[in-house]
């Protein structure tokens, strides 16, 4: 039995359908992420799991128990809010003690647990401070400590890192991964940041327009996006209109206007189907001259534009008529001169199975 079963949840606000028939199972011990652009329904879904909102139809089961009739305070589910929602009139220690007080835990036990939990988040000396006196990262850790102190079955995190600057965010991502491993509590994490989702999660549900577009492990989401939205939303991706001209059992040949024939692996499409070829820039090799390998697509073109990013250079190569393909060249060798300029002739190639054909 899954820890949390979500079945056909629908939530409408007037004419707007925020969550449109979402179903998913979340397993115990999982770091699960709801990823999507703002307005995709991820926060609404999270609020329904917490109990602040209820669906018009559909069901949710936690450990097999129907959540519909359980008030938010009775659910063994805690939330880390985007604003942290630390009580400003209580000290850090009082904030962490709050959920224990609500459960009528004895005074000595509360003190011991608060002390332990302050130590866990490296804030042992800050128990007497007020939240307003802490830095953003410290507040974040207090919010986590407070939500975890009475060991919920499920922890919901609503974009908890959005307010932090980038350096701190990366550090907190590592801390979150370690924390989740340590406590073994199931996390449901909401974010619109795809790199964060890829870095943290065991599984990701990509949401758009109230629906789940794809639910899979991060590497599968990245390498084999199921449709145009996922390919486009996660990372950068070349999306090239294509039509299947030969459909083999494992491979296929795509006809691309202005470019010609391209080999790709066949996800099960038949001849004549129109769609797009999704190709990650880092899977495209680029050089002044390339020796094409076995099973590789190989094209000649010109550098249309490039962006020097420090660690890599992004080249936009014009191949054929009006077809632009983005390719990444790592700036690995220190001090290597930039050999390609705008207008230079270049060659690009990629293995047939680097690209994914998406119909529709």
């Amino acid at each position: 039995m899954s820890l949390l079963e979500i079945r056909n949840i629908v939530r409408r606000f007037g004419d707007f359908t925020a969550v449109d028939g979402v179903s998913m199972n979340i397993e115990a011990g999982e770091f699960f992420t709801l990823l999507g652009p703002s307005g995709c329904g991820k926060t609404t879904l999270l609020r329904m799991i917490a109990g602040f909102d209820s669906p018009q139809s559909g069901e949710m089961f936690l450990d097999g128990k129907d959540l519909a009739s359980i008030a938010p305070e009775k659910r063994p589910i805690h939330t880390v809010f985007q604003s942290y929602a630390l009580f400003p009139h209580m000290t850090v220690a009082e904030n962490i003690a709050f959920p224990l007080r609500m459960r009528k835990v004895g005074k000595d036990e509360i003190n011991e647990k608060v002390r332990q939990s302050l130590e866990d988040v490296r804030l042992a000396d800050r128990g007497g401070r007020y939240p307003g006196e802490l830095s953003g990262g410290q507040r974040q850790r207090v919010a986590l400590a407070r939500a975890l102190v009475n060991r919920p079955r499920l922890l919901l995190l609503d974009e908890p890192l959005a307010a932090l600057d980038m350096k701190l965010r990366e550090q907190m991502q590592l801390e979150l991964i370690n924390l989740q491993k340590e406590v073994g509590i199931t996390f449901i994490y909401v974010t619109h940041d795809q790199t964060e989702a890829l870095a943290l999660s065991h599984r990701i549900a990509v949401m758009n327009g109230g629906k789940v577009e794809q639910l899979d492990e991060p590497s599968k989401i990245y390498d084999s996006p199921k449709n145009r939205f996922v390919a486009d939303f996660i990372g950068t991706c070349n999306l090239i209109d294509a039509e299947v001209s030969v459909a083999g059992e494992e491979k296929m040949v795509l006809q691309i206007r202005g470019l010609g024939e391209v080999a790709a692996k066949n996800p099960g499409a038949s001849c004549g189907v129109k769609g797009i070829l999704a190709l990650r820039p880092e899977k495209v090799r680029i050089g002044a001259q390339l020796v094409p390998g076995l099973d590789e697509n190989h094209f000649k073109g010109r550098v249309h534009d490039f962006l020097y990013m420090g660690d890599v250079t992004v080249y936009i190569v014009e191949v054929g008529e009006g077809v632009h393909i983005e390719a990444l060249l790592p700036n690995s060798a220190a001090g290597r001169p930039r050999i390609l300029a705008v207008g230079d002739p270049v060659e690009i190639s990629w293995r047939y199975d680097a690209g994914t054909f998406l119909d529709g």
Binding site: A50, H89, Y130
Partner: protein
């Protein structure tokens, strides 16, 4: 040049506002029956005041009315303010705010007609009810503005962490809006203690309040006794205003 002009006009404005008050206070210590020329210092008028039974009775009434009215209107106004914040209703704001804008004289007349219609004898009770009625709106506004400055996820976080709706209100919402509630109560108290127009219509013959008593005294002559009671009243309201301003939204916070 323009800076000096600005300073001068500033001083002139404050002089216009406060000089009359200074004169009132000063003459309350004047050893003369007339507010005309300074003769000498005396506590005499305060002694007269303390032995004036009608005046003391009126002062007692005023305090009793102001306390009751501010207490009751604070409770009702807090609830109204919470409802205004919590539910986005169309009619409620109008109902709560309208008495603030309606001319006092209209409120006074309509309350009088209402009390007569329901056969309520005019007196302390009718004054109290009237004061509660016009104070509720002010309290509601102060409380609502305090609430709308509060992070909405705070009461939700309390629920999330195991608090019942009532516990969430008592342990999180209430302490956070307490400065607003206290400020509202003080506002209601000062509004009530110096109200004349509405009180005049709803007092009847039996009960008198300080403003009514002072008014009836100056119909004859402005004696220094009026100055003395005015001075005391001023001190009380000044004290309340200082307390209220200390409790402005940002004063009670972690920061």
């Amino acid at each position: 040049m323009s800076k000096k002009l600005l300073a001068a006009s500033g001083i002139a404005v404050y002089a216009f506002l406060y000089l009359p008050l200074v004169v009132v206070v000063a003459y309350s210590f004047n050893n003369s029956k007339l507010n005309a020329e300074w003769v000498g210092f005396t506590w005499h008028w305060y002694q007269v005041l303390l032995s004036d039974d009608t005046m003391l009775k009126a002062a007692g009434n005023s305090l009793l009315i102001a306390l009751t009215a501010s207490l009751a209107s604070t409770m009702l106004g807090t609830m109204a303010g919470y409802a205004l914040y919590r539910y986005k209703l169309k009619l409620l704001p109008v109902l709560v705010m309208a008495p603030l804008a309606i001319p006092e004289i209209l409120v006074g007349v309509s309350l009088l007609i209402f009390f007569v219609a329901i056969n309520l004898t005019l007196g302390l009770l009718s004054i109290m009810l009237s004061h509660i009625a016009f104070c509720v709106g002010f309290v509601a506004i102060v409380v609502r503005s305090r609430l709308s400055g509060m992070d909405e996820s705070l009461p939700e976080a309390a629920r999330d962490l195991g608090a019942t709706p009532f516990q969430a209100f008592r342990l999180v919402t209430l302490p956070l809006i307490a400065p607003g509630i206290i400020a509202g109560a003080l506002l209601a108290f000062t509004l009530s203690i110096d109200d004349f127009v509405i009180t005049f219509f709803t007092a009847g013959v039996g009960a008198s309040t300080l403003p009514l008593q002072i008014y009836s005294m100056i119909k004859i002559a402005v004696t220094p006794e009026v100055n003395a009671i005015s001075t005391l009243l001023m001190l009380l309201t000044l004290f309340l205003i200082v307390v209220a301003s200390r409790l402005s939204p940002d004063s009670i916070r972690g920061k």
